[in-house]
Symmetry: C2
Subunit: 231 residues, 2 copies
């Protein structure tokens, strides 16, 4: 994997922790925060896939709001319009995983262009990255919104090779979501799966090229391979 | 809804209980049966959606087997090849919900053609229906395999209007899966959602035309409207 010319990251669950919102959920419904956050995330994913298959696209912020509405109804928890908006706003301020800021700085110092390719809307991606103070790390912020469909559809994965003017074989795709890593691998990217939680990899006919437990470990691995922009 | 000319049913979770397999799962891993069955079903659904979006179709039996492999690995439960095959075979013998046999007989007696439109393979659908002794109730058994993609993609929903030679507006689509009911509604079928469990309906921009708690209630409702083949 010495001929890589850029790194493309997934955002939600990969660089940033979607369960950052659990505390705010817990403030609304004490003791239920994690339960709300887990169902909200699961439904958010499902709605992106289902909307894509139904050919009835809405952007990520709408899918996120819809998933929260479902979650509050399914769990029979009251959530008025103001509370919904406040929680959705928390999704625009989710936090990076602890090792991410320093690891990104190291990766950037290697001279490779770093990009985000996310199902998030342009506004969502920019808001999350800006709130974390990491905006200068990235050369490209790429949204599935440009394809009007969500990952793992190929129309989204191709946006990164187009934006970075590289062949897919030259870009390392990094995701913690096994379904996303599988989609990218099937599309043709070399893939690194960040498996922080010790999960099994999804059985979608694909295997990641490399597996790490955190982004720092990826930086170590690439440094050991002496990957630089000139190599 | 007096001008309907046929009824199209989803199979898994609608007429037949996917958690029929929980007892066999429990026999393999005592005390874990329901947990296995729930994760297996969730991953089975996800794999059908993800494979469809990735344009990397495998049939339902393969997706079911893949989902079981993931589940055993994720839960760190040993499951050798023989046990996997035995459990997958259980999926070919799942049981109808208690009210289903009599309600189907009543619906058939109204003179409307009854059809199944399922993500299952031809073999899966035939096996499940034959094992239940309900094969004579159905005029059409229609598999997503003919479209080489899964619901809620429109290419699957159109198979029923083609097979029954009806316009979509003339067929009542019946599902317990809210995502499937939403997909069918978006496609253009009038939809009845069977909500046995008292769930919230998915927030996918659609609403069912009618909601019942069981298939018997649907038969009551149609009988009250005097829907017959001649009306």
């Amino acid at each position: 994997m010495k001929n890589i010319r850029g790194i493309v990251f997934d955002l939600y669950g990969t660089l940033f922790d979607v369960h950052s919102v659990a505390a705010a959920c817990d403030a609304c419904h004490p003791g239920r925060g994690r339960e709300i956050s887990v169902m909200w995330r699961q439904k958010q994913l499902e709605y992106t896939w289902l909307r894509s298959l139904m050919a009835d696209y809405v952007d990520f912020e709408q899918a996120t709001r819809d998933a929260l509405v479902f979650t509050s109804r399914q769990l029979q928890l009251s959530l008025d319009e103001a509370a919904r908006s406040a929680l959705c706003n928390e999704y625009l301020k989710i936090k990076p995983y602890p090792e991410v800021p320093e690891a990104l700085a190291r990766l950037q110092a290697m001279g490779l262009p770093l990009a985000i390719l996310s199902n998030g809307s342009v506004n969502s991606i920019r808001s999350v990255v800006a709130a974390s103070g990491l905006v200068l790390r990235f050369k490209h912020l790429i949204s599935a919104d440009d394809a009007q469909i969500f990952k793992p559809h190929g129309s989204v994965y191709t946006l990164a090779e187009q934006q970075l003017s590289c062949d897919r074989s030259e870009l390392l795709f990094v995701s913690s979501n096994a379904w996303d890593a599988s989609g990218a691998r099937h599309f043709g990217y070399p893939v690194c799966w960040i498996n922080r939680a010790g999960n099994a990899f999804d059985e979608l006919g694909q295997s990641p090229d490399h597996v790490v437990q955190g982004l720092d470990e990826l930086a170590d691995w690439l440094a050991a391979q002496q990957i630089t922009s000139g190599s």
